[in-house]
Symmetry: C3
């Protein structure tokens, strides 16, 4: 049983690990900024870094939940792929946020498209499971192929 | 194996998806408030929305962890039911928080009763597992029936 | 199947429950401080409690994710042991933070060593899984023994 479980989740574990490394990177950035400069323009730069970090952290549980649900319900490869793209978008967001002076458009939600794609994968997986249980027909193979193709569309800017 | 796993978690996945949709709804509300009005009473309303959103986000990982543990350890139907009630309470909390001017009682912990119920489900599930392993007796059927009945008590205001 | 799953996760569920209890304890502390004293030195003490609570909450999803990944990928006993040490460190952090007046070194990241240990467990677990799949050799027994021994090193201050 153990090998079967690991086969279905090890890509998700890898993406989760990458996201944890990124979280630690963000937190270290904030900590360095916080302890580094004390007097001049301290508060503003720190405020911005801290805000960017907080926005990232606020959406992190949502991202993890959708990632794992999508990976378990349907198939792990497209979910992990979308997860990696999300991490890239988050990195861009964090770096881009620092250069931005105006705080009126923080963009609380970045990566909406990826979250939407992962949620859709969950819904499709659940519908497929219900059809399998009550109808007896199994379209899992087709759906997984379609999902893999569609997931490449996330690369479009 | 796959179908057996999905049978035991698909309700939990559904509740998780609903909570994600609610999170996105909250974040969009905050974003709209943040970009919408710039000058007058901007800061106060935004401050309140942002605070309500933050309180919701702070307890979100706790809720997810207890929900899934309870669902996996004991049985998913009562856990998912309690999860849906929690989402309703959170919606009420978010909407009610907006109308409240005084910030001195933010109510960091809403839905304490539901979190307590889900934690209790985890504990009962673990005790039952230990009794099954070391004692050989299995009361899972009875406990699941009792849990389903008790979960309806959460509907009381 | 159910018993096999529970055998592999019930320690993780216990640690998760403990962490939830700790979260609720932190939130109640903040709530009590918030509603307790209204006028004098209200803002400072509340600010500090709220900040400590927020730092704890920000790293909570990261901790949960690494804990469960390490527990599922490799073995649950060392992961749960590291998790309990993390909870003790967090309690010390929260209590120590309250006595600290200066806010310039909040220490966003506490328990770095434990997070690093858990991440390492995940990586080792994935490498072992890949070797098992593609190479046919299984060192899981040895690795689990080594991990148990290494995990006691976390007790060093």
């Amino acid at each position: 049983m153990y090998v079967a479980v690991m086969d279905n989740i090890f890509l998700l574990v890898l993406v989760t690990l990458l996201s944890v490394v990124q979280n630690v990177f963000f937190a270290l950035k904030v900590e360095k900024e916080c302890t580094g400069q004390h007097s001049k323009n301290h508060s503003e730069a720190f405020e911005r870094l801290s805000c960017a970090n907080r926005n990232c952290m606020d959406t992190y549980p949502t991202f993890l939940a959708v990632l794992w649900c999508a990976g378990i319900c349907l198939s792990q490869a497209p979910a992990a792929f979308a997860g990696i793209i999300y991490l890239v978008v988050r990195q861009k967001y964090f770096v881009g946020y620092l250069g931005q002076t105006c705080q009126s458009t923080p963009g609380f939600l970045f990566g909406k498209r990826i979250l939407f794609f992962l949620s859709l994968m969950c819904v499709v997986g659940i519908i497929n499971h219900l059809m399998l249980t009550y109808g007896g027909s199994d379209y899992k193979e087709y759906i997984q192929t379609i999902t893999k193709i569609v997931s490449t569309l996330l690369l479009l800017p």
